[in-house]
């Protein structure tokens, strides 16, 4: 019977070319995404450096000049993009690991800066100094980490003024390990650090609101505003 060895061979070549094109295209977009993360990181680094410099230049009397605008708003976006990339490329990817380390450093710097502003100028200048530090592990040894992640993401969505710093407990980064030893955080994850107090295990939205009453104050403020608006609306109608 007829055989088409030649055709088998050039079909193989065509298929291989298609595959290689797909690999190249995928790599191209993947690299673009990595570049985007790097860009965000360098923008944040500049932001933090600018804030630190501004902070050093200003005297205590000038606390009014310091607004929350000083603190980089891109940290949350960066965190989301980094965790998406980590999911796709795997947590062992060298480039992802490097970006993650840099991200963790930026978070620590942001946290320190926020603390400094809070100490010198009081909590009003930093949106009440609302911050949560969250330690997780994605090595499969933390069954509640995913759920805790949902809770913190939801809180961050509901309260844009809340700064959530998330750290991979197992990340090989000396600054992070120093942070862990300063606060004496055990490997009983998930762990949440709120106002210098550590909470271990899964914490629901209500648990966190109890630990961070400022969130409840925001709720109350929002409720008041809603009530006021509805009152205004009814009075306009009656008039």
């Amino acid at each position: 019977m007829e055989m088409s060895w030649k055709k088998y061979a050039y079909t193989f070549v065509i298929t291989a070319v298609i595959f290689i094109t797909a690999i190249l295209a995928s790599n191209y977009f993947s690299q673009k995404k990595m570049d985007e993360i790097k860009n965000i990181e360098s923008r944040i680094a500049v932001d933090i450096l600018a804030s630190e410099t501004q902070f050093s230049l200003l005297s205590e009397l000038s606390c009014k000049e310091i607004s929350s605008g000083l603190l980089s708003k891109e940290l949350a976006t960066l965190g989301d993009k980094l965790s998406y990339t980590e999911q796709n490329r795997g947590s062992d990817d060298a480039e992802v690991l490097n970006l993650k380390k840099y991200y963790s450093l930026l978070q620590i710097k942001d946290f320190i800066l926020m603390q400094k502003i809070k100490d010198r100028c009081g909590s009003t200048q930093t949106n009440g100094g609302l911050s949560i530090m969250y330690f997780y592990s994605n090595k499969g040894d933390c069954s509640d980490c995913e759920r805790e992640g949902f809770v913190l993401t939801k809180l961050r969505e509901d309260y844009p003024e809340l700064r959530v710093y998330s750290f991979d407990y197992n990340l090989d980064l000396s600054a992070l390990q120093t942070l862990v030893s300063i606060y004496n955080i055990k490997k009983d994850l998930p762990a949440v650090l709120i106002n210098d107090k550590i909470y271990y295990g899964f914490k629901s939205i209500d648990d966190i609101k109890n630990a961070l009453p400022a969130l409840k104050a925001i709720d109350a403020q929002k409720a008041k505003e809603v009530l006021l608006k509805s009152k205004q609306a009814t009075s306009t109608k009656t008039n």
């Binding site: 019977m1 079909t11 998406y84 995913e146 993401t153 939205i205």
Partner: protein, 414 residues
Amino acid sequence: MHIVSESITYIFLFIALYIEVFFLITYFEFSEKKLKENSPTSNVGQIKFPSVSIIVPVWNEETTILKTIFSLLKLNYPKENISILIVDDGSTDRTWNVIQKFSRNKQIKLLRKENGGKYTALNYALEFVDSELVGCLDADSFVHPEALKRIVAQFEDSEMMAVTPSIKIFEPKGLLGLIQKAEYMFGIFLRKVFYYLNAIYITPGPFSIFRRSVFDKIGYYRHAHNTEDMEIAMRMQKNNMKIGNVHNAFVYTIAPTNIKTLYKQRLRWVYGFLKNAIDYRDMFFKPQYGNLGMVVLPAAGFSVLSTMYFFGAMVLSWAETLTTQISKILTVGFSWQGFNFDFFYVNTDILVFVSLIAVLGTFLIIATSRGLAEEKNKFGLDSLLFIIFYTFLAPLWMSRAIYNVIFTKETKWR
């Protein structure tokens, strides 16, 4: 484990793409050649009309048998050269009475026997056949008036031992009807490609025509796990007999209208394919069987395996997403933050690009097959439904067929 499953996915995708590219190259390579061959100087007018017998095996087919026979009587072919043998395979309904209508028709011979299955009915009728060509038409199918003439023309080639038609769904209705319509058209393309590769391994029950001598040389039909039309073709291929195809010799068949009958029919087909493939396993990857042994049969086996694999992978991935979403809702309640498009979150994995190319190839096949089936448009609602739903339907019977093969459970006709 992740690396293993990822590697399997890549290998499967590569093979699937290889097969698709191979079939498309084959189709366009040969259709170009055929176009050159079919120049106006070719001898269309000089077709001979050899004697043909058409066997119609019937079992409880009182509602469709008349339409089937009338379609045969309307064939544009010299009446003296065509005879019809209706074999009642022990019907328990009024089929025998219904076909008595033709008892005086000289073209038609009525035969009756005890129920023994389709292949026994065919073999019984073959004993009465002395024509040069012989074919079969299932009692749920009807032929296009020009079908026989077009098929017979291919027997001009003295090496041609059997010729297959193109099967279309008769008046497709509903979702299942439309999905099958597209599927059958896909089949028209594949059969054409297999013909070009000299690798047709099924001579479908509806209107495949054979030289009578085939049965003298290689024997009659066998039970063959209720897929005798596949087994006879495999046996012919094993004996180096050429099988042709005429894509515009249309036969219309009534498709199952509900999922239960469709499931039973397909279970029988896939089970029959797997069992026959096991019986003829010595043909796989053997260069002496040409493209059939090296590509077409392995590709058919691979399609069952890969459909199951990709379906399994898809179900697992959906289950994972669903579990995560449920866990999220249970933890923080339902929240919808609106849709914010960011290119960053568009999946740009290698798999996405390869799958996109594979889907484009599928679109090309669909458009080509619709051209072969003489449909007006290159794409239709049926094509869309086929692409969306077929991946979910096929695993239903494929998984059961694999189970039945492993635990040797025979399938039934109905």
